[in-house]
Assembly symmetry: C2
Homo-oligomer: 147 residues x 2
DNA sequence: TTGAATGCAAATAATTTGCACGGAT
DNA sequence: ATCCGTGCAAATTATTTGCATTCAA
């Protein structure tokens, strides 16, 4: 396992195991949101010996470590994706008909400044310390509009 | 049942049943997001004879009718809430420690115009027809910050 | 009257847990 | 050597489905 991930796990007083490394590698390589089952299937294809329970336990660990975040598309299962640096954040566009999900980056200039202001306003008003946010847009994808 | 709801169901070619009316009444009165189980428990307290399957079936119906929307707080169950007119929309602030959810309305002036622009940009770029959006903010509530 | 809606129980799907064993430190 | 992490199977939780019965139109 590359030293960097090893160090990350150790910095959280967690052991750097093959299972854990295999999971983060899947997310690094696929670079998209995956359900627990999808991670599990992907690892099976790669001949990585792992149980589904270990996948769930480590997804939860990676969540608590701040390496993954949960996203939910309303399809009955949780999905997970890597947390990117603030400059690389993205949100989701979900087709309510076919379930397709599109990741989009920053498309409008003032997005960051607007969200910063909204965040600060919410923190003051509700005495929260806000750590992240997520925007979901729902509608019909190109294909489903024609039906 | 008040004529208005009766008409709404009929306009969708659906029967106006006591179960359906009881469910919308719960959402009207509680005015907040509820899980299927919470709706069911609430109706039991009110002596409304109903099965949990009927609750799920009608939540789904009300979703398709555009009366309810699904919201997800990452706690393993779906929650539902009434869709309000665009001028009354609100989003959610979720405490990642205790799970508390705060509904917030429009707190920053340019919120609507910003989101309108973002929506239009996304529609053009991805050929979507966007119908709604939802913003979630995550962090620590006042109480959990002190721990 | 008649098909849509319901209640109940059983089925399914997603996720979690208990426990004995194996492996990272 | 020591526990943390793991696999497996069983348990739990959320949601869906099949079917006989009920009831709104």
């Amino acid at each position: 396992m590359p030293g960097s991930w090893k160090d990350v796990f150790h910095s959280f007083n967690k052991k750097a195991t093959p299972s854990r490394y295999a999971i983060v590698k899947v997310f690094e390589e696929k670079a998209k949101h995956l359900s627990a089952e999808e991670v599990y299937e992907c690892l099976k294809v790669r001949k990585q010996k792992i149980g589904i329970a270990t996948v769930y336990r480590n997804l939860d660990l990676l969540l608590r470590m701040g390496i993954l975040r949960k996203v939910n598309f309303g399809d009955g299962k949780e999905h997970y994706e890597m947390v990117h640096r603030p400059t690389q954040y993205h949100h989701h566009l979900i087709c309510t008909n076919c379930g397709q999900v599109i990741d989009y980056g920053e498309v409008v200039q003032e997005e960051k400044s607007f969200l910063k202001r909204l965040k600060e306003e919410l923190e003051r008003k509700y005495h929260f310390r806000i750590e992240s946010h997520h925007i979901y847009f729902y509608g019909l994808c190109h294909h489903c509009q024609k039906e």
